[in-house]
Amino acid sequence: MALDIKIGDRIANVRLVKKDGSKATIEVDDKLYDVDIVMVEEGVYSIIHDGKSYNIEMIQGNSPKNYFVNTYYSSLEVDIIDAQSRYQQNRNKDGIHSGDKIISTPMPGKIVRIPVKEGDVVEKGSTVIVISAMKMESEYKSPTDGVVKKIYVNEGDTINSHQPLVEIE
């Protein structure tokens, strides 16, 4: 079975050629690797390749197809790309083209202030919502000139990460 795997900008085709116990031959794009690979702890793999030892921690991300991978030298995000994720990526692309800008935060927090109301005309860079998390207040600014189409939350609300807060049209 072959899989497309993505790290950063690079997408490689990975294929198992043969496998016998912990010894495996795996092809990454056009390169063949003979490796000895063992799962040593839940989600942690030890790979020996060409005498070199790699300790690789695989931490499941947002879905079973998304991983955070730690080696001693780097931390990477890895995505498995199959037909389903390809389809979803294309759909998300369409979403961005629709012209709506939804403001959300990467972390949970509490709404301190919403200095705008629905229907207000806002300029690019003006503050539309202020969130407090861990004793620090962060201002979120409008990414574009536009009109406040919808406000999904109220001052004092507790919010989750990536929750839609304000929509600018």
């Binding site: 070199k52 921690e57 695989m58 080696t71 972390m107």
Partner: protein
């Protein structure tokens, strides 16, 4: 002075410091009591303590800052003493006074000492009386512009305007040009009023490239006061310390002695008892000035513990029970070099935005000369209500160079997944030439910010390929398992077969 047996201590705090205090209690055979808010039911200090009581909703104001409730819990569980940790109620004179009135020992100074050091103008006056140098400036509340002009003529620009009741950088204004003076004073006053409910401000000379160096002191009820040397805390971002080390690479033996004496004089001037820290500013010409006193344990206390071998929390408890300090000034030495890195759940590459969330995986460093003081664990959700600091990494080496190399090694081993942390940023500081040479002041981060944020995260291509191979194997074995579980559902009776199948895919 009669001795009191402290048998049970309530820790009026959370996070790493609560865990750290409980550790010393355990070594002393003292029972520990944790308190917790709604958000902290799962927290490590609750799990680690002997007893735990809920005190209120998640926001600090309704829980960890609710002194009356905390005293009520302490009385009902018959705790002899309260350890306030740092932050929250640790420098609240009112709380210390209430503890005393309720017959509970407050592990810290007498409330009168907190009051004298809490008001910056009165603290300055006390220091001048005690012969401790203070930054040139006013000793009283600013009244009229004429007096201000006179003072500025004496000490020269630039100056800094500070709120008497202030702290943490709030209500501070820097003035470099005379024409900015009047408006800056008005603004500082209004900011002080809104932040601290008190518009009293004062003027200090602004030192251009200062070092922030503090001295740890201990004082008992028998009149003994000692200092445990300095901590260099100049690696700061927006007045928040990030890295501390001891000994300071900047000060000389002679200066250390002078500052140590001044620190002891400062503590004696307010009849101090317990552990405290005298913060000084040291200018480029190695003149030092009293800045303020922190009347509590500091976040960075472990580096002092590491180089002196003294457990500061134990000493706090001894002192509170009326014992003498367990050593003399002459017995103390600084052995080797120690560095602390504060690791926060924040994203240095996105303007240090706080990043609460769930810890998916954590691998902590270990080995010779490494200590971690943290409180998060796998599966723990860091609450959004409190400080973003999640762990402290402390390294020790015989020399400064070895302590830096060891810190680099430990940061390299430290893996926290699920939330963004400052680990990579701290690694960059350890690799910075000026830092390695010990050539830095409080402007270090500002000055080097661009290069510190420049992470060339270019892993070796083979490493990337290995990560892909691990992802391939992990994902396909997950698929296999999934397929197998569907399979076994339909053939539930054949347990031996199921066992055999599971066995055959367990290689990974």
């Amino acid at each position: 002075m009669h001795l009191i047996m402290i048998k049970k201590v309530l820790i009026a705090n959370r996070g790493e410091i609560a865990v750290r205090v409980i550790r010393s209690c355990r070594e002393l055979g003292i029972k520990s009591v944790a308190i917790y808010s709604d958000a902290d039911r799962n927290a490590m200090h609750v799990r680690y303590a002997d007893e735990a009581y809920h005190i209120g909703p998640s926001p600090s104001k309704e829980s960890y800052l609710n002194g009356d409730k905390i005293i009520e819990v302490a009385l009902s569980c018959e705790a002899d003493a309260i350890h306030p940790g740092y932050g929250f109620l640790s420098e609240n004179a009112d709380f210390a006074k209430k503890c005393e009135a309720s017959g509970i020992i407050f592990i810290g100074p007498k409330w009168e000492s907190i009051v004298s050091m809490g008001d910056k103008i009165s603290a300055r006056q006390k220091m001048i009386e005690a012969g401790v140098p203070v930054v040139p400036g006013t000793q009283q509340k600013i009244s009229d512009i004429e007096t201000v002009n006179k003072i500025v003529n004496e000490i020269g620009l630039p100056i800094i305007i500070k709120a008497s009741a202030g702290g943490g950088g709030k209500g501070m204004r820097l003035v470099r040009k005379r024409e900015e003076l009047v408006s800056a004073i008005r603004m500082a006053q209004s900011e002080a009023l809104s932040s601290f409910g008190n518009d009293t401000v004062y003027i200090e000379k602004y030192l251009d490239s200062p070092h922030h160096i503090e001295f740890q002191i201990l004082a008992d009820k028998h009149g003994n006061t000692v200092h445990l040397f300095e901590r260099e805390c100049s690696v700061q971002r927006r007045h928040q310390k990030m890295i501390e080390e001891t000994p300071s690479p900047f000060i000389t033996l002679e200066l250390r002695e002078k500052m140590g004496e001044a620190a002891i004089a400062a503590a004696k001037a307010v009849n101090y008892e317990g552990a405290g820290t005298i913060e000084f500013l040291v200018d480029a010409n190695r003149n030092f000035y009293f800045l303020e006193m922190n009347t509590r344990l500091q976040v960075e206390h472990p580096i002092t513990e590491r180089t002196t071998g003294i457990d500061l929390v134990k000493e706090q408890i001894y002192i509170a029970s009326g014992k003498k300090i367990s050593f003399t000034q002459e017995e103390l030495i600084q052995f080797g070099h120690s560095i602390e890195c504060r690791i926060s759940a924040e994203d240095p590459f996105n303007n240090f935005m706080p990043n609460p969330g769930t810890i998916k995986h954590i691998s902590e460093p270990n080995g010779l000369g490494i200590r971690t003081d943290g409180y998060v664990y796998e599966g723990y959700e860091i609450p959004m209500y409190y400080d973003p600091m999640i762990t402290k990494l402390i390294s020790w080496g015989r020399t400064r160079g070895e302590a830096i190399e060891r810190m680099k090694r430990a940061l390299f081993e430290y893996k926290i997944t699920g939330v963004k942390t400052s680990i990579k940023f701290l690694e960059k500081i350890m690799e910075n030439k000026d830092f390695i040479e010990g050539n830095y002041d409080t402007h270090f981060i500002e000055k080097h910010l661009e290069e510190l944020l420049d992470i060339h995260n270019d892993p070796h291509p083979t490493t990337t390929d290995m990560a892909m191979i691990a992802a391939y194997i992990d994902y396909t074995s997950k698929l296999e398992k999934l397929a197998m579980s569907d399979f076994t559902v339909t053939r539930r009776n054949e347990k031996w077969k199921e066992y055999g199948l599971i066995k055959s895919i367990q290689r990974f």
